[in-house]
Amino acid sequence: MRANKTSVIAGGLSAVSVLALTAGWLWGSLPMIAAGATGVGYVAWRWAPRPGRRRKRAPAVPASGAVEAEVRPRAAPVDPTDSEALVEQMLAQGRYGLLLRPQIARNLNDAQLARARAALEEAMALVPEGEVVLGKIDEMLDGEDLDEEEAAAYQGRAVRVGCYFLDRYPVTNEQYYEFVAAGGYEQLSLWDESIWTAVLEFVDRTGEPGPRYWKNGRYESRWRGHPVVGVSWYEAAAYARWVGKRLPSDAEWVKAGSWPVTLSSTSRVQRKYPWGDTMDRSRANLWGSGPGTTVSVDRFAEGVSVGGVHQLIGNVWEWTRGDLRASDLRHPNLTLSAPMKSIRGGAFDTYFDGQATCQFQSGETPMGRKHNIGFRCAVGICDLMLSKPPADAAVPDGLENAPAEEVPV
């Protein structure tokens, strides 16, 4: 519309100018020749295409002023009979977890299996099996408020967790884009059946399927390495399924951060933060210690856990697969207005140190798509085939991943 209007004005001006020039030449009027020449010159200067000017005008900048990512276009469908190409595509998409499932890994050659294993070891940290205490209330928060009965109740409960792998970093926008671009929101098999009707509501600012804060089905380039936020628990779970993983349980998440050491049957040492027992704000992106928004997942590297997991504390809260129960919280007679899923770790806007510990648990409704909640994935070691078994070994049934063994102690 604007371009049409501009060309009409240019055409009109140039026509008048040429007319004035011709008339002036015919009648021998110098002022008319000068006016016409000036008009023609101005039109040529103002509207003629020039490389410098075009470069300035060319990019279509979104309303917010942010430049959208130059993300890869949706990958061309791979021939399902071409297993080489399929494996390559899955590795490029970060779906090594799926490739290492026993049912699939058997069909890989040694080189492919080695590459999938290398990808797993690079992106995920191994958390050994063992016990972890959940639900212990931080004494600092309670002071003298707890009576003896309450204090006993809030000593927490010990849980045994099986060996599993946990993502070293939260899932980034770049990684999540692979899921969106591969049509993850259209593959209903990835989603809980109960949520099928709501999947259509999981759209970005422009109505395209994707996280809430994206536009046109893609993220802004500056958020490439930042954790994906604005995703509901169901979107997180669907992504995890797509890459052959699952969301970690509460016990798994706490174990990866607090790295408990069992000294005896009744005594164990468990860290308050992944780096120790004292808050050090330089190690985590929390309120007052960061830029007030998410940062790239490789920042705050000093906050790494013993097992090599980054940003468990700060930057974004992380969905876990567990439910938040009113009994998990220290207040008596508490009711949740809606069912909630457990979130852990604190975010860039978490205000209190005591709410950014490995033990602290908060909750959010599973449909919530908040600006400060992201996730990372886990997979049980028993669900993966890390080396080729004998040819006649039995294959376990089903792809649906059970949580790692979690037994109350």
Binding site: H331, P332, T335, L336, Y351, Q355, G363
Partner: protein
């Protein structure tokens, strides 16, 4: 209210008693050893500080219905500005000014909201602080009381029943009006009506001088915005859609106003108590939009 002390018959003391000290809020005359003004119950420490430091603090009112979040907002604001002074720095004047910050933050750290502010003015927390602005560099004094919502409602319905509220609002240079966004969303119109009454009341306080409420900066803060995503995205639109009467009145009454959205708790659960009834319990604390309204009011008062 006023300390009952036995006055010794010393000439020096008698002289001190003979010189009245005006309350900084209502200008009522008090004796030098009064803790609270005998007329309005404002702390006399405000007057003593103003006299001794030769400064005249400005006043900014924080008003709103009961439960709108005035205590949490003020306590959080003070703590944020004292912890992170890049934008504005707030330094308390006198120990009494820190009590509000202390009680609010202690409660929030335990994942609880602070107790309801009592109706009696002599039990309110007052904040007298020095605010420093780095760019342009400016320092000034400010007084902000945490008034009880029910007392404000009573004063609005029965003007002059709380002298401290009348006097303070007359002298205030600007206001932060807190409106519960969740209650607006739920459709109960009490929140809207209360604030409409409050705005009318402010208009009635104008005494014909140049210092009219229609010219003063008024920040309308929609609280608990963490529970209403659309409120957080566009507070003015949210107010127009959910409280059209209030929105219209604001357009007519205040020339210099702006809508803001704020939230302190990321999510809430509910606790049922025999004595208090239904009580919200914050599940985590992540403040948003707390400093912006205050900063906007100050920049209007002091010039950008």
């Amino acid at each position: 209210m006023t300390k009952g002390v036995i006055v010794p018959l010393e000439s020096a003391r008698l002289v001190e008693y003979a010189v009245p000290i005006a309350c900084y809020v209502c200008e009522g005359e008090n004796t030098f050893d009064s803790e609270f003004c005998r007329y309005c119950a404002a702390p006399m420490a405000l007057a003593h500080q103003a006299n001794s430091q030769k400064v005249h603090p400005r006043m900014v009112a924080t008003v709103g219905a009961s439960g709108a979040g005035k205590t949490v907002y003020l306590g959080m604001l003070m703590d944020m500005l004292s912890r992170q002074p890049h934008r504005l720095q707030m330094l308390a004047r006198g120990a009494f000014s820190i009590t509000l910050q202390q009680t609010t933050l202690a409660a929030l750290a335990r994942c609880e909201f602070p107790d309801k502010t009592p109706n009696e003015p002599d039990r309110w927390n007052w904040v007298h602080c020095q605010v420093r602005r780095p760019k342009p560099r400016q320092t000034f004094e400010l007084i902000m009381p945490d008034m009880a919502g029910e007392a404000i409602l009573h004063e609005v319905d029965h003007p002059h029943s709380f002298r401290v509220i009348t006097s303070f609002l007359k002298k205030s240079s600007g206001a932060l009006i807190l409106i519960d966004a969740v209650k607006l969303k739920e459709g109960g119109r009490n929140q809207e009506f209360f604030n409409m009454k409050l705005i009318s009341y402010l208009g009635e306080l104008d005494d014909g001088s140049k210092n009219r409420w229609s010219k003063k900066p008024v920040a309308l803060i929609l609280t608990k915005a963490d529970e209403c995503d659309d409120c957080r995205d566009d507070p003015a639109r949210y107010a127009r859609e959910h409280a059209p009467g209030l929105w219209q009145q604001v357009q007519e009454r205040f020339r210099n106003h702006r809508f803001f959205a704020t939230g302190v708790a990321g999510a809430c659960a509910v606790r049922h108590s025999v004595t208090e009834g239904r009580v919200n319990v914050p599940l985590r604390i992540e403040p948003h939009g707390v400093v912006e309204p205050f900063e906007w009011v100050l920049s209007n008062l002091l010039g950008r």
